[in-house]
């Protein structure tokens, strides 16, 4: 009995430690609202500088191959306008942006509509689950991702997973430049799924990756303002 109690306490302690390492507070206003992924998700975390505010986040990082970052913030927001600003001095040229298991963007922002989903049917749901077991899990719900693409033409819009649509807002031809864009999430959702979203945005995710097979580092920065302040 004592051993069982000890084991339970040990496991509880491990869980608390693991959870704590997963919730790295972001410096600045709105501290603690953005959560950073653990180093274990990548081979290691890159050198990075982060500033979070009530309506956004700014991240600058220098990613060696095999590193990446991901910051997520959950809540409930109207799908209003978003202002995104990206910069990257390289792309992951060895990756195919069309394949869920392959796509790895040097900079991207994802808006998750967690209360909305597609009617896929049981068979396709199981198939999706199995593919996610292999390629990594995504947040549930419909997602709009704005990405610095690795090869597709700027302006491309395509379905990456069944419930994720990617908008390519910059690409290799803009390497070394800074690209800002203002997006109306409702319009983009309508363009992607042919209807307005059900419920609001439930999660904003900022991520950047440099896969291990790429050569050399990538310096990138992402700034998100959502909801965008009125002009």
């Amino acid at each position: 009995m004592r051993n069982v109690l000890r084991t339970a306490l040990f496991l509880l302690g491990c869980t608390v430690l693991f959870a704590a390492s997963d919730r790295i507070g972001v410096a600045g206003e709105g501290r603690g609202t953005w959560e950073e992924s653990t180093p274990g998700r990548w081979e290691s975390l890159p050198e990075r500088r982060v500033g979070g505010t009530d309506n956004g986040i700014s991240v600058e990082m220098t990613m060696a191959p095999g590193t990446g970052v991901s910051y997520a913030r959950t809540g409930r927001w109207e799908p209003g306008p978003a202002v995104l600003r990206f910069a990257a001095d390289n792309v992951n040229s060895g990756r195919n942006d069309y394949f869920p298991g392959e796509a790895a963007f040097p900079a991207s922002v994802t808006f998750v509509f967690g209360k909305d989903s597609l009617k896929l049917g049981a068979k396709r749901r199981v198939s999706l689950l199995l593919r996610q077991v292999w390629n990594g899990f995504t947040p549930s719900g419909i997602r709009l991702t704005y990405a610095w693409g690795n090869g597709l033409p700027v302006g491309s819009m395509y379905r990456l997973w069944e419930e994720e649509t990617v908008f390519v807002v910059a690409g290799p031809e803009e390497v070394g430049k800074t690209v800002s864009t203002a997006r109306r999430l409702v319009d983009d959702f309508g363009a992607a799924y042919g209807r307005p979203p059900v419920g609001g945005v439930t999660e904003v995710r900022v991520s950047a990756r440099r896969p291990s097979r790429e050569k050399g580092p990538v310096r990138a920065s992402i700034t998100v303002r959502f909801p965008a302040p009125p002009e």
Binding site: G155, V169, K177, T178, V179
Partner: protein, 251 residues
């Protein structure tokens, strides 16, 4: 200050529509990237007096002229004669070029005509051609390249040290506004920032209808000019939807 460069394409084949010119589109972005300013482009016929007259005129306008085409072995290849006349020197056989041509004989070629490609204006510097023994040459602020795009592209890096300058800053705004709607705002921005060049370019297909490009030697001034334009654009009922910033060498 960027080197002012002129591009001259030589050949009736381009003017008569026998081939589609492809070298200008290759050279201009590279030159801009290297910090040069392309201030003129011309396509001239295979006519020595016409070419000589224009080259003299262009040399008054630019620091460097880049010429392509007209250095082959046939009688319509007149570029070397025209350039020699402008430089005021005779054509001579360059021993290095001659040796290179002789060391790589070409099956079926007529040696005497082929060796015409070893003739360059006296005192010219050879521009190596990694794809063929026939070189380009440089003399009197004129760099002469073959017109074959593959060869030009293989040789073009040679000119880089001559043109490298300060890259200018550039801010590009994308919007759905019709050009006429913001013409007044553009005029206002032009007078407020005379040191920033502004260009408006319609996009026929794509996500946006127009792009407005701001170019300047200083990034802060270029960005401020773009900011002023973006600030007033909503008065027309449209707004800037995308902005691309390219910092020049001043930043």
């Amino acid at each position: 200050m960027a080197t002012k460069v002129g591009i001259v394409i030589l050949g009736d084949e381009v003017l008569k529509g026998e081939i589609r010119e492809a070298n200008i589109a290759y050279m201009i972005p590279l030159l801009a990237d290297w910090g040069a300013e392309t201030s003129l482009c011309a396509i001239l016929p295979d006519d020595i007096p016409v070419v000589v007259r224009h080259l003299r005129w262009y040399l008054e306008e630019v620091d460097l002229l880049l010429l392509t085409g007209g250095i082959g072995p046939t009688p319509d290849d007149i570029t070397r004669d025209a350039v020699a006349e402008v430089a005021g020197v005779p054509l001579v056989v360059n021993p290095e070029a001659k040796a290179a041509l002789e060391s790589r004989p070409y099956k079926g070629a007529n040696p005497s005509f082929r060796l015409l490609m070893a003739q360059v204006p006296q005192g010219a510097t050879l521009i190596p051609n990694p794809l063929s023994p026939a070189p380009g040459f440089f003399i009197a602020r004129m760099a002469v390249f073959p017109g074959v795009p593959r060869m030009l592209q293989a040789m073009f890096e040679w000119v880089r040290p001559m043109v490298s300058g300060r890259r200018r800053s550039r801010v590009t705004l994308y919007a759905m506004a019709p050009e006429s709607s913001y013409a007044g705002i553009m005029k206002d921005a032009m007078s407020a920032f005379p040191d920033v060049g502004i260009g408006s370019y319609p996009i026929s297909d794509g996500e946006y209808r127009v792009r407005v490009v701001f170019r300047g030697d200083r990034f802060d001034r270029t960005a401020a000019c773009a900011e002023r334009f973006a600030k007033f654009l909503p008065e027309t009922g449209f707004e800037v939807l995308r902005r691309v910033e390219e910092r020049g060498d001043d930043a």
